[in-house]
C-alpha cells in the first residue's frame, strides 16, 4: 500500500510527495481499500499536468481514522490503452470515471455504463450533445416512457428525467444532467484574481454559498504560507454561518415536502421560519444566502455582542416553532401515510454508491465530515451525527428535522462562547502567495452533505487545477434507486426528500 496520508486540518501537500503509481497498483490498492465500508472515495479526478501527460488523483476518506489517503497515476495524453474500471467493482467510482472519460477520452474497458456525465464545453468528443443523450431503453408492449424536463413545472433548475413505467410503477429512472453547466472549474483557472475566484465559489450552488465558499477559503488558506489568526473568532463565525445555512435549507425542504403532499399548514409554517432564518443571515451580512460573508483569512462582518444577542434570540425562536412543526408532522397520519415506506434506499445500496450527507444518514450510513474529518471549529465541537435506519422519505425528513434542532444548539453554544477578549476578526486577504507544485483539499459538510474542493498549483504558484465536488455528485443515483418500484406519482416527494443540486453537479 502506497499512500500519502493526511487529514482535513493538515496543510497542503507537495505534489512530489504524493505517490505516482502504475495503474495496476493504483487500481489494486483503491479497490482493496474500498472493500472497507468505512472508506469511500472523496474525489477522483484527472488534471493535465504537462502537455504530454494526465495525472489522476484519488482521495480516499477513512471515517474511522479521520485519515485522508491520496495517491495518483499517470496516463500519457495520447495513450489509447483501455483501463480496467474501478466502477465495475465499486459503483461509487462511477460518476468520477464518467467525468474522466468525458473530459479526456480515457476508456475504461469494463465500465458498467459508459455515458457522458454533464456535457461540459471542453469534452473530448464534441459530437456528443445533450440533446442526444443515450437514454436506457426497455422494450415491451406493456411498458411506456415518461419524459420530464429539462424544464420542470415550478421554479427549479433544469434536468432531464426519463421514467420507464409499467402502469403506474416505475421500473427504471434515468437522470440526465448537464443543462446547468457554466464552466465553473475552467473559470477558476482563467483568472488569478482571488476575489473573483471567491465569487465563483459562492456561485457553485447558490443555496450552498456558505459551505462552498468555506471550502474554497480553507483550500486557499492551506496553500498559503501564512495561517489564519488562531486567536480570532473566524472559525466560530464560519461554523455559525454554515449551521444557519443548514437550518434554513432543511426548513425549506420540510416546507417543500409538505407542499408536495398538500399539507398546507406545514408548508406555510416552514416558509415563515425559513424567511426568519435567512433574514437572520441578512441582518448579519446583508445577503439572505450568506454571499459575501465567507472570505479567505477573514471576514468583513465581525459578530459583535449585539449581533450575538440578535442571532441567539432568533435562532431560539425558530427552534421552538420548528419543533412544534416537527411534532405536528410526526402525529399527522396523512403525512406519515405518504412519507413512510416510500422511496426506500437500503444501507447496502447507499454504501455501494457512496452516498453522503442527509440521504446517507437516513439509510443508516454515517457520513458526516463534521464528525469523521473535522476541521476548524468542528475539531472542538465533538459533533455526533444523527443517523436513521429506515432509508425512506420519512427518515430523510426526520434526519433533517433533528439536524435543524442540533444546528440551533450549536449556534447557541458557539455564540455564547464568543468572548470580548478574542481579537476582532481579521480583514480578508486576497493577495497571499500559494505554495508552488502543491495539492490542497478541503472537506466541508454542507447541508446536503460532503463538499470537497481540491486545488493544485503549478510551478509559479498559480492554480493549475481546481476541482469541485458537490455532494449531489454522489447522491443523484440514490434518487434513481429510491423511485425504483415506486408509483410515479411519488416521484415529486422523493425528489424533494433528496433536494439535490443541479448546478453543483453540472458546474
Amino acid at each position: 500500500m502506497n499512500w500519502f496520508i493526511t487529514d482535513n486540518s493538515a496543510p497542503s501537500a507537495e505534489l512530489a510527495r504524493i505517490p505516482e503509481l502504475s495503474y495496476a497498483e493504483f487500481y489494486a490498492q483503491l479497490c482493496a481499500e474500498l472493500e472497507n465500508p468505512a472508506c469511500h472515495l472523496g474525489e477522483l479526478f484527472a488534471m493535465r499536468e504537462q502537455e504530454s501527460r494526465l495525472r489522476i488523483f484519488a482521495l480516499l476518506l477513512d471515517d474511522t481514522t479521520s485519515q485522508v489517503k491520496i495517491c495518483s497515476y499517470v496516463y500519457p495524453y495520447y495513450c489509447e490503452d483501455e483501463l480496467p474500471s474501478i466502477a465495475a467493482r465499486h459503483p461509487q467510482a462511477h460518476p468520477f470515471e464518467r467525468e474522466i472519460s468525458e473530459l479526456y477520452g480515457i476508456r475504461f474497458s469494463d465500465s458498467p455504463w459508459d455515458k457522458p456525465l454533464r456535457y461540459p464545453a471542453r469534452r473530448a468528443v464534441q459530437g456528443n450533445t445533450i440533446d442526444n443523450y443515450p437514454f436506457y431503453k426497455m422494450e415491451g408492449e406493456s411498458l411506456h416512457e415518461v419524459n420530464v424536463g429539462p424544464i420542470h413545472a415550478g421554479i427549479i433548475e433544469p434536468g432531464a428525467f426519463r421514467f420507464i413505467c409499467h402502469g403506474e410503477k416505475v421500473l427504471h429512472l434515468e437522470i440526465a444532467l448537464g443543462f446547468q453547466h457554466r464552466g465553473v472549474e475552467e473559470e477558476f483557472l482563467r483568472t488569478d484574481n482571488r476575489l473573483r475566484q471567491t465569487l465563483l465559489a459562492e456561485s457553485i450552488a447558490g443555496d450552498t454559498a456558505v459551505a462552498h465558499a468555506t471550502a474554497f477559503a480553507a483550500a486557499i488558506e492551506k496553500l498559503s504560507d501564512c495561517p489564519p489568526d488562531p486567536h480570532s473568532n473566524l472559525d466560530r463565525e464560519r461554523a455559525v454561518a454554515l449551521e444557519l445555512e443548514r437550518m434554513a435549507m432543511h426548513i425549506a425542504d420540510t416546507g417543500a415536502l409538505c407542499m408536495d403532499i398538500g399539507y398546507q399548514l406545514g408548508q406555510v409554517a416552514c416558509e415563515a421560519l425559513r424567511t426568519m432564518t435567512i433574514n437572520t443571515t441578512q441582518i448579519w451580512c446583508g445577503n439572505r444566502f450568506g454571499k459575501g460573508l465567507i472570505r479567505p483569512f477573514g471576514s468583513h462582518y465581525h459578530i459583535d455582542q449585539e449581533m450575538i444577542r440578535t442571532i441567539r434570540s432568533n435562532v431560539a425562536e425558530i427552534k421552538r416553532r420548528y419543533n412544534e412543526v416537527r411534532e405536528n408532522l410526526k402525529d399527522t397520519p396523512s403525512v406519515l401515510a405518504r412519507f413512510e415506506q416510500c422511496g426506500e434506499v437500503s444501507l447496502s445500496q447507499m454504501t455501494r454508491i457512496g452516498g453522503v450527507g442527509v440521504a446517507a444518514k437516513a439509510s443508516g450510513l454515517c457520513r458526516d465530515v463534521r464528525w469523521s474529518h473535522p476541521w476548524g471549529e468542528y475539531l472542538r465541537i465533538g459533533h455526533r451525527p444523527i443517523v436513521k435506519r429506515q432509508g425512506d422519505i420519512m427518515a430523510r425528513l426526520t434526519t433533517r428535522c433533528r439536524e435543524v434542532l442540533q444546528s440551533a444548539e450549536y449556534i447557541d453554544d458557539l455564540l455564547s462562547a464568543m468572548t470580548h477578549d478574542e481579537r476582532p476578526t481579521p480583514a480578508p486577504r486576497f493577495d497571499t502567495r500559494l505554495a508552488p507544485l502543491s495539492l490542497a483539499f478541503s472537506l466541508v459538510e454542507g447541508w446536503r452533505g460532503e463538499i470537497c474542493h481540491c486545488a493544485v498549483t503549478d510551478r509559479q504558484g498559480a492554480l493549475a487545477c481546481y476541482k469541485v465536488k458537490d455532494p449531489s455528485m454522489h447522491n443523484w443515483l440514490a434518487l434513481a434507486l429510491a423511485v425504483r418500484g415506486a408509483g410515479i406519482s411519488d416521484f415529486p416527494i422523493n425528489n424533494k426528500s433528496f433536494n439535490l443540486s443541479y448546478c453543483g453537479h453540472d458546474l
Binding site: 445533450i130 440533446d131 421554479i155 433548475e157 464552466g183 447558490g206 409554517a269 415563515a272 441582518i283 412543526v325
Partner: protein, 252 residues
C-alpha cells in the same frame, strides 16, 4: 392539538403593505457613488472590481454586471456605498448604470409597450426558466409567492406551462446546454409576451460571460422588458420591478 400550537406560533405572517417594506441598512442594494472621488481612487476601483462593473472615466457602476460583493465599498468607503434601496429594476439596460449623485434607478414608463399594462395590469402568469442559475435567484422567485410576500394577492403568479404564461423569467447566464430548451419554451408562449431577466448573471452573463459553455444568442434578437439586478434578486426587487412594469406602481 399539535396543529393549534403550530397555528398559534405562526400567527399572521403576510406583509400587509408591500410598498412600505424597508430592508435592513446592511442589505446590499442600489450602490451610490461620490462625485468627488479622485482619479487615482477611480482607477483603483476599476481594477478592484472582479466583474468589471466599475468604470473610472466616466465614473460609473453597472448594476447589471455587479455581483454586490461590496469589496469596492469596503476598500474605498468614501467613493462607493451600498444603500438598502431594493428598487433596482428597469426596462432600460442603460438605466442600470449608476452614476455619481443619483439615488434612484430610472424606469422609462413611456417606453413600455402599449399592450403590457392593459393586458397584464390585473393578472400576470410567468414561466420561469433557469439557464445556469445557481439556485439562489430561483429560491427568491419562489419566495415572492410565499406566506410573507404573497405576491399572488396582485394576481401575479408563476405557472407550470408556458402555454399558460404571459412571459418568461430567465435566471442564470444562459448555458449552451439550455439554449434550445429556453428557445422552445419562449416560442410556446402566446403573444404579447414578456422577457424578464432576473439577476445580474442573466443580465450580463456575470462571471461566466466569456465562457464557451454560455450561449446568449437568445437575447441577440430580442429586447428584455425588465432587467432586475441582484445576486440573487431580492423578492422585493422582483415585486417592485414587475409592479412598475405593469403600470401598477410609479418609480419616484
Amino acid at each position: 392539538m399539535s396543529k393549534f400550537k403550530v397555528l398559534r406560533s405562526h400567527g399572521k405572517q403576510f406583509i400587509p403593505d408591500l410598498n412600505a417594506v424597508t430592508l435592513p441598512p446592511i442589505f446590499r442594494g442600489r450602490p451610490s457613488l461620490d462625485a468627488r472621488t479622485d482619479e487615482a481612487t477611480r482607477r483603483a476601483l476599476e481594477r478592484l472590481c472582479p466583474v468589471g462593473a466599475i468604470t473610472a472615466e466616466p465614473f460609473s457602476l453597472d448594476t447589471g454586471r455587479c455581483l454586490f460583493c461590496k469589496e469596492c465599498a469596503m476598500a474605498h468607503p468614501d467613493a462607493v456605498s451600498f444603500t438598502n434601496n431594493y428598487k433596482m429594476g428597469s426596462n432600460d439596460r442603460r438605466a442600470l448604470v449608476v452614476t455619481p449623485g443619483t439615488d434612484t434607478t430610472p424606469f422609462e414608463a413611456d417606453a413600455v409597450r402599449e399592450r403590457i399594462c392593459s393586458y397584464f395590469g390585473h393578472a400576470l402568469r410567468l414561466r420561469q426558466v433557469s439557464a445556469g442559475g445557481d439556485g439562489s435567484t430561483e429560491m427568491e422567485l419562489n419566495a415572492t409567492g410565499n406566506v410573507n410576500f404573497d405576491f399572488g394577492r396582485y394576481g401575479i403568479e408563476f405557472t407550470a406551462s408556458p402555454r399558460h404564461a404571459d412571459g418568461v423569467v430567465i435566471t442564470g447566464p444562459i448555458t449552451r446546454n439550455m439554449a434550445e430548451a429556453l428557445e422552445i419554451c419562449y416560442r410556446a408562449i402566446a403573444e404579447p409576451k414578456l422577457i424578464i431577466l432576473a439577476g445580474s448573471e442573466a443580465i450580463s452573463g456575470g462571471l461566466f460571460a466569456e465562457n464557451r459553455a454560455i450561449d446568449r444568442s437568445f437575447l441577440a434578437t430580442r429586447t428584455p422588458d425588465l432587467l432586475l439586478p441582484g445576486n440573487p434578486v431580492h423578492p422585493m426587487t422582483f415585486i417592485d420591478g414587475v409592479m412598475t412594469l405593469t403600470g401598477r406602481k410609479k418609480r419616484e
